[in-house]
Symmetry: C2
């Protein structure tokens, strides 16, 4: 199962809307004869790849797989059929598929056909592996990570707005890897105006994650790196109450950049955006936004993981930008608990990640 | 010398205005026959204690001492006399005494009397041990440490001012130990008004460090924990331009609390305060002040070491207090470099210390 989990990890960042899955096949004598992982939606599932590699040697053997084999026709045929056709005697599964189209149905189908099925092996590790997929299936929203870079005095810019670069090259390279693990990167209109970011994984994820701008006013600049969709796709989302002058500006921008996607949401809120992104198959999003949108995302429960990059610098400035706008607390005992991971050094900088306690 | 440095450390926080000093005596055969350290100003110097312990066995032996023996009459007689009287053949010294009253004179006196003197053994460690004393002698100002506790989003209070407690009990106990290492703890009038702190080492330093309030306006509360000098001494410092109504308030406070010390400075600045504290024998001070005074202390070069305690909490709030006021930078490449130490965990919190590069 350890090997299967490691195989599954190889698909990280590329399988959405599907989960990460890894599988190994042992022959009747227990010798490893096949392995596979799910590399991309629409391509072969992990079990099918492993069984193909094993060929006839799978006969009477064991399939070890990190997620319950599916029993429904999706973009590819159900895996349970392939398992039975290969003559597998025993299937070891880490966790049941939370997808309501499966949800134990695959295991039941195999058992009904006389296959021995062992479940719950390394289940916690398998759930962690697919925490984003599980989160989307269970809540209807992708898993949210919020990332910021600040000085040790808690500033994300100088009083005059200068912010490039607070963190050093190793931390910035780490952010590119972080982007490569998710399906979308979200900023607000203010970040586009002040920072004109590129928001790509610098080629570490193919395709690049969807770049999303959530803008209440649609007060967007005529030119921006994000409008160049040759680098990565970009979606501009706004609420039903977006003002007419903003819609006019947006129309001018999309006329000049016809590959830009736009989306009108019922409301210009983090929740409405995430629900729409979940429907588009996003399992995991990265919030790289300014303080007001970040605070709104936290208030609405759209952030499960937080990554703060802290530079050993002092920026100062009462007027300087800070990571978060108002969260609405009036007493320190109201603060919800976060679980802290061990801090890591990224070059000269420090990375500290917090996870929302569940 | 390692043993002598460890002995010196035992006096930490209690020797000011004097340095930390440790000494060991070996007899003619190289056997350890005496050890001593400087425990408190006015008490025996380390060499004298070690020589006393050795008695006649020091004859023809070696003295190993972390700082050049003094050659001047202070509160106690010159140590060079005691070394010669004991019949020591050889003296091993880590570093010369930067005090202009000594400054190599002790070593010269010993050599003139025919004693072999070896210098510079573990000199770097000895300078680090006494960095505060060396800083005061060389700059005329005590070494400055600045400490703050903040949430991971860089807030030192909620928008309504609530700030007790952001950090947890282990971090607060560490702050008590930090206070015990210095000679004075400094806050501004704003901190007295908003937090009413106690600022003691909770008995870990005897006597407690001097608690200093630096106030421009003397807009001080009638009642405050700091006014109770039974816990620790308190000094209220202000500038020559302090307003008349403030002076009147101060007079009322000192009438009610006659043991309070007051000090009019030429100007209400961190520099003027530190020069006055150096003259009072302070080698090391701890800044525990609010953002404006902290920023002024940094701008004036009164902070050599910075300790940020970061709690795994999010306070939020654009109006919430932050660690530092304006430092006057307009571009990120203007920022002076700080050397970062490895972060440490203090319970759930994180401690990250920076040292000003020299």
């Amino acid at each position: 199962m350890r090997r299967a989990l490691n195989l599954a990890e190889l698909g990280r960042g590329r399988t959405s809307p599907n989960p990460l899955v890894g599988a190994v096949v042992l022959d009747a004598a227990g010798v490893l004869v096949g392995e596979g992982f799910h590399a991309r939606a629409g391509e072969a599932h992990a079990e099918v790849g492993a069984l193909r590699q094993a060929g006839e040697r799978a006969q009477g053997g064991t399939l070890v797989v990190t997620l319950e084999p599916c029993c429904h026709q999706g973009l590819t045929p159900p895996c349970t059929g392939a398992v039975l056709a290969a003559g597998i005697n025993r299937v070891v599964v880490a966790m049941a598929d939370p997808n309501p189209l499966v949800a134990g149905g695959g295991i039941a189908r195999l058992r009904a056909a006389g296959v021995e099925v062992i479940t719950g092996v390394a289940e916690a590790e398998a759930r962690t592996l697919n925490r984003a997929f599980v989160n989307r299936i269970e809540t209807g929203r992708p898993l949210g990570l919020l990332k910021w870079a600040m000085s040790l005095d808690g500033r994300t810019a100088l009083p005059n707005g200068a912010s490039q670069w607070i963190s050093g090259p190793p931390a910035r390279a780490w952010v590119h890897r972080l982007r490569a693990q998710g399906d979308a990167v979200i900023v607000g209109g203010g970040t586009v105006r002040s920072d004109d970011p590129l928001l790509s994984s610098r080629g570490q994820r193919i395709p690049e994650p969807l770049r999303v701008v959530l803008s209440r006013s649609l007060d967007l600049p005529e030119r921006a790196q994000l409008w160049d969709t040759a680098v990565a796709p970009t979606l501009i989302a706004y609420g039903a109450k977006a003002p007419a002058d903003g819609r006019k500006r947006l129309a001018a921008i999309t006329e000049a950049h016809p590959d830009l996607q736009t989306l009108e949401l019922p409301a210009c809120t983090p929740t409405a955006l995430l629900e729409a992104l979940a429907q588009r198959g996003c399992n995991q999003v990265l919030w790289e936004c300014g303080p007001e949108l970040a605070a709104a995302a936290i208030r609405e429960g759209c952030v499960q993981h937080l990554a703060a990059v802290i530079a050993p610098k002092l920026l100062g400035g009462t007027a300087a930008r800070t990571p978060l706008g108002d969260l609405g607390f009036t007493a320190l005992d109201q603060l919800p608990p976060w679980q802290a991971e061990s801090p890591q050094r990224l070059g000269a900088d420090l990375l500290w990640m917090l996870n929302r306690s569940t």
